[in-house]
Symmetry: C2
Subunit: 246 residues, 2 copies
């Protein structure tokens, strides 16, 4: 048995997230079907995380235990010929058998992309959140700093998913707001994330810009777990799993 | 009666071109439906040109004769609220009644965008042609110069559409190949274009890069109208109607 660590990008618009499910196309199922076609082997890939419907990835990692003599570069080329144009294999390397895309993961970086312009860009409809007003990115960046550190992020978790986790304590190592032309890019890194955590952080930072929340609200949300002190959940289309660290 | 000149952008991926037709959604029909909703008036918009299925526009112009007191900025805002996210109204101004988007047009600029990289970009699947090898853009740019001027472009017209035009003589005023990071952008301007003309010019320039055609072939194609001396038709997804001149 060999074990491959594979990095891929995908445009999540057409998929019900990464994880295989019964109704609707998913990234996992599309990739496993292509692996079967390429190698003849039934594949069970292990993703570094789930992603929600419509969320994208610039550098998603999965591992693939496989009984196959296929060379790594043959895997990349063969898969890219078989996968649909909204998916691409970027890298494949062989790892030891104990490498596990989820358990071996040391951290992840997410990017949330907002396009700020009075008129929407018709070519970004699925890949950035359009926001028609200027954002106070300085205020947002300063407030983002409050998320850095080890906190109880219960207020930044989708309510229906709270019962699925043992603890809502997570460590955020990076939270910053960068202006890049007409884009406002929000980078959030950490050792683990609750369901919708980045999207609620982004929604809260947008409320900060709009004056609907203050830095005190963020401190109180982290302190009390009160979802009401945080902001709304930003739409999936702006979110990218950007990098995974091992 | 008033007459509006409207500039819009659209992502053509989901549409069967600009022009209204019986089967399939078109840009024209989507826009006219929105105008009806906004103003209550039956609208008959006149486009500056047809575009094929999957072709995009950064600055498409139509004119709209309308019995309505709606102010121009109200038209822009109202339409952008009603149109789907893959369309946007960029500008609206009132013109004299004899302004006609097609007949008054003095020239058009098209942009063809090629993304050159060994691996495709999953976020550009519908908005650029992916080409996995380097392009000889210097050679292409030099060959592009051969198109400038007044020529018989019969060899650069979709065969099935040849009988629809009185003459295949057109004047090209700009044809150049620009490298912009991983993009190869081909700009073609002229006073009028035959069906698929820009896409065949682009396909021919790609054959030039690949050594499948020479500058002599282009000269011969312009001279004889022999479609075989030109290249194949490049896919629609890379083509943008970029600007229209009046």
């Amino acid at each position: 048995m060999r074990n491959f660590a594979v990095t891929m990008a995908y445009n999540g618009t057409a998929y019900h997230g990464f994880q295989r499910q019964d109704n609707g196309a998913t990234v996992q199922q599309t990739v496993e079907t292509a692996i079967k076609k390429l190698t003849g082997c039934e594949a069970n890939i292990i993703g570094c995380s789930r992603t929600d419907a419509g969320v994208h990835a610039n550098g998603f990692v999965f591992n693939l235990p496989l009984e196959s003599g296929i060379p790594c570069d043959g895997f990349v080329k063969g898969m890219n010929a078989l996968l649909p144009p909204d998916m691409a294999i970027l890298d494949c390397r062989e790892e030891s058998l104990d490498f596990h895309a989820r358990y071996s993961c040391k951290g992840k970086q997410y990017l949330y992309r907002i396009y700020t312009s009075p008129v929407r860009d018709v070519f970004l409809r699925d890949t950035a959140l359009h926001y028609p007003y200027p954002l106070n990115t300085e205020l947002m960046d300063r407030a983002a700093g409050l998320f850095i550190g080890t906190h109880d992020f219960a207020a930044f978790c989708k309510a229906e998913s709270l019962h699925l986790v043992k603890t809502t304590v997570r460590t955020v190592t990076e939270a910053r707001v960068v202006t890049e032309g007409k884009f406002t890019d929000i980078y959030v890194s950490g050792n683990g994330f609750l369901h919708n955590m980045v999207r609620i952080i982004v929604g809260t930072l947008m409320y900060i810009s709009e004056g609907k929340r203050t830095e005190e609200d963020i401190a109180a949300a982290l302190d009390t777990g009160d979802r009401e002190r945080a902001g709304k959940t930003a739409p999936a289309c702006g979110l990218y799993l950007n990098r995974v660290y091992y």
